[in-house]
Amino acid sequence: MKDVLLNPALDRFAVYAIFASMALYTVAFLTFVWHLSRLSSTKVKLRKSAVSLERSALAITILAFLFHAAGVVMRGIAAARVPWANMYEFSISGALVIVGIFLAAWFIREIRVIAVFVTGFTLLVLGSATTLFYVEVKTLMPALQSVWLVIHVAVAVLATAFFNIAAALSIAYLLRNSVRLNNSKLLIAKVAKRILSVFPDSRTLENIAYRFNVIGFILWTFTLVAGAIWAERAWHRFWGWDTKEVWTFIIWTIYAGYLHATATRGWSGARAVWLSLVGFAAVIFNFTIVNLFFKGLHVYSGLK
């Protein structure tokens, strides 16, 4: 790689766009919460008004997504490469893909209930990205100058996004199924129960979550294989139990276990769903704790 011209000024604008999207996501999040509470209202009139509320929330989310996308694209242009080479960039791109997939799946009616989770989680990711993970635009170190950066990491982002949406649906499933919540007499439990009553039935939630997990699993397998091919080119071996490789393997194994569990008597249902959530916890652990505190070859956060 020769003579790259970075554009830190453009990156300023990229950050402003991300901040703008965060403000909009906040509004969208609150509107979705408002919508849920309206939807579960005992008054018919309020329930009817919920539809327009949902529509506005969706419009705001789309607007937030556009600002978010502009931020990611500008970051890429400012750095003169794909915008997913360090933790900050992986976070903003990953969150963008999550929202993108969610919006693309909006036609699946049952998925809409996780809008609160998706906008909330995106806010959380963007918040930590801008405050904890931010680094100025830098060129790629020679080890990252590879076509596999584009492929391996992009697919890892996609896989994470699918797992994420599945995890949101799984949480919704567990809440819907929660015996303790159903038996509780606390006021808050009653409110929660009313809100949950507008959720799709648990079987549907479980099925859609399964589908997203299956796609996530296929993409994760690809990430693992592509990573091994890249590792052979860069480090002379396709597999060396580097900490990141270990955790990629652990995540793969847990989700493989989840897929087997759905087909095993006594393990399908809530237990399998819990297993997929353990898998997603491992994904988050891999991205945060392993990236920042574990010693290994994948040291690309760019943080000191």
Binding site: L5, T139, P142, W148, V246, T253, K295
Partner: protein, 513 residues
């Protein structure tokens, strides 16, 4: 009589007697059950965790050494449990061996069964259809044609069996085929990885500009062959490092000094060839020669130094490899002069490509390229311990028992050198001259003949997995009753499309040709 017989003999046996064959069969049934497979899979995930928490000998041998230094007692205990070799440990290995045993035991009968299914027709129509997950019923009409419906199902790639009772149709056999291919391919991956580990080798060599690496055992700084690999199998070739070029960023303010590219320009001579070919090794772009791939894994500076004793005799002359300590290539070099006159001494030296002074007065490097190169040296006199026969690290000088005569607390300032300059050493040790500056490259040389098989089986497993996960297995039954048509469908997994499939069939039937 059969050993499995549980007919009580006499009075003494009340519980069923299994016998050793029975126990074997019972154990096998346990191992091959899905529940056990699932447990083993999850156990494998858990067992992999410690390898990411504790340093591993395979991935981070220095980390293990440091761990032993810092917690000697704990390290010994942990080592007894193979915590520093998790992935080759007895316990980790037994989990995956059991898992694969379970896999084989589970998959082989399924292959036999699936083979039978592939060769036979769809299953016979069940008696009652109304309990199927998808079910439709409509009044019969004369225009409704069963043969047309059968043809339509065939067109939709169903396997169709027509009987007087109605139509049985089935599709999605690929779901099971893909599943079986996936699992068998995993076995292939495991075998290929295992054989690859035994037949491959890796080695390291640090090489300075102008030097050559010859591919034989003596050419390596370190060499780790697999169990079945013999050093005689090394394919003869040599690689000469002609020039090592680095490119550091000077253009972008926030990025100054960041490496943009490392390029090792080499001349390669294969076998007994007289002519050498030019080659280029870069990070992510290894050089491939028959029987080996050569990877660039590191680089740094090698100042060329000459040490002369008081009489002017050369005690050392040549390039010295300095290991980079930070991103601006502040580098540390060690020189041992066991044959120096009047006494042997060692040197710990720092190299600064672009020297700068910190507020504390300490020196540092501000930029990784040699804009203003500078050397400092601390000198230690005493027995270097090289004659004892104990192997020592060439990059480390154990100063224990040595007397420091320059730098540090010795009272004498460290030797400071600019490129091309000569300095006198204290205590009549002679002089040192900095003649030139070269670069070095760290190369990994590796070859795994089974790699292509690992890739092949992995790709096969991946394709099998996708096919299996994305192909729905569906059964459709159509029964012509006296006054009505019954449609039913089921799938192996939850399938939201079943209703739609039946509706489409009804629509087709109602169409007038």
């Amino acid at each position: 009589m059969s050993l499995l017989s549980n007919v009580p003999q006499g009075d003494e046996i009340l519980s069923p007697k299994l016998g050793w064959r029975g126990w074997l069969r019972w154990t096998w049934a346990q191992i091959t059950s899905m529940r056990t497979a699932l447990m083993l899979l999850l156990l494998l995930a858990v067992a992999a965790v410690p390898g990411s928490v504790f340093p591993q000998r395979s991935a981070d041998p220095n980390g293990v050494t440091a761990y032993f230094k810092n917690n000697p007692e704990l390290a010994k205990t942990l080592d007894a449990f193979q915590i520093f070799d998790v992935y080759t440990s007895v316990w980790f290995s037994s989990i995956y061996v059991l898992l694969f045993l379970s896999l084989v035991g589970c998959v082989i009968p399924r292959i036999v069964h699936h083979w039978g299914e592939l060769k036979s027709e769809p299953i016979a129509m069940p008696r009652s259809l109304s309990r199927f997950p998808a079910y439709l019923k409509l009044p019969a009409k004369a225009s409704y044609s069963m043969p047309r419906l059968a043809a339509e199902l065939q067109r939709k790639r169903y396997r169709v069996k027509v009987t007087p009772a109605g139509i049985s149709a089935e599709k999605g056999y690929l779901r099971e085929t893909g599943n079986l291919v996936f699992h068998m391919s995993l076995l292939g991956v495991l075998v290929a990885v295992g054989v690859g580990g035994a037949t491959s080798f890796t080695g390291q060599r640090v090489i300075v500009e102008g030097e050559s690496f010859v591919n034989n055992l003596a050419g390596y700084d370190s060499f780790s062959p697999g169990a079945w690999f013999d050093a005689n199998q090394l394919v003869p070739f040599s690689v000469k490092l002609d020039n090592f070029r680095t490119t550091f960023d000077l253009r972008n303010r926030t990025n100054i000094g960041t490496p943009l590219d490392f390029e090792a320009f080499v001349s390669v001579r294969e076998g007994s060839q007289a002519i050498s070919e030019r080659g280029l090794i870069r990070v992510n772009h290894p050089l491939e020669v028959p029987g080996a791939n050569i990877y660039l894994t590191g680089n740094g500076y090698a100042p060329v130094l000459t040490f002369k004793d008081a009489d002017g005799n050369i005690s050392f002359s040549g390039p010295v490899i300095y290991m980079p300590q930070d991103s601006n290539y502040t580098s540390l070099g060690v020189i041992k002069l066991p044959d120096a006159n009047p006494k042997q001494f060692g040197v710990i030296s720092f190299f600064y490509p672009t020297v700068a002074t910190l507020k504390t007065g300490a020196l540092t490097s501000r930029y990784p390229a040699p804009v203003d190169p500078f050397l400092t040296m601390n000198i230690y006199v005493g027995d270097l311990g090289l004659d004892s026969g104990i192997p020592s690290n060439v990059f480390e000088l154990s100063v224990h028992g040595l007397e420091q005569v320059a730098g540090g607390k010795s009272g004498v300032k460290p030797i400071k050198l600019e490129l091309g300059a000569t300095q006198t050493l204290p205590g009549g040790l002679g002089t040192v001259t900095w003649d030139g500056l070269k670069r070095f490259a760290s190369l990994d040389i590796a070859y795994n003949p089974m790699q292509i098989w690992v890739l092949l089986f992995t790709v096969l497993a991946f394709l099998g997995m996708i096919t299996s996960l994305l192909t729905p297995r569906r059964r459709v039954f159509v029964r012509r009753g006296k006054d009505d048509f019954e449609f039913a469908a089921m799938a192996k997994n939850d399938d939201p499309k079943l209703e739609g499939i039946l509706e489409d069939l009804v629509k087709f039937l109602k169409r007038r040709k």
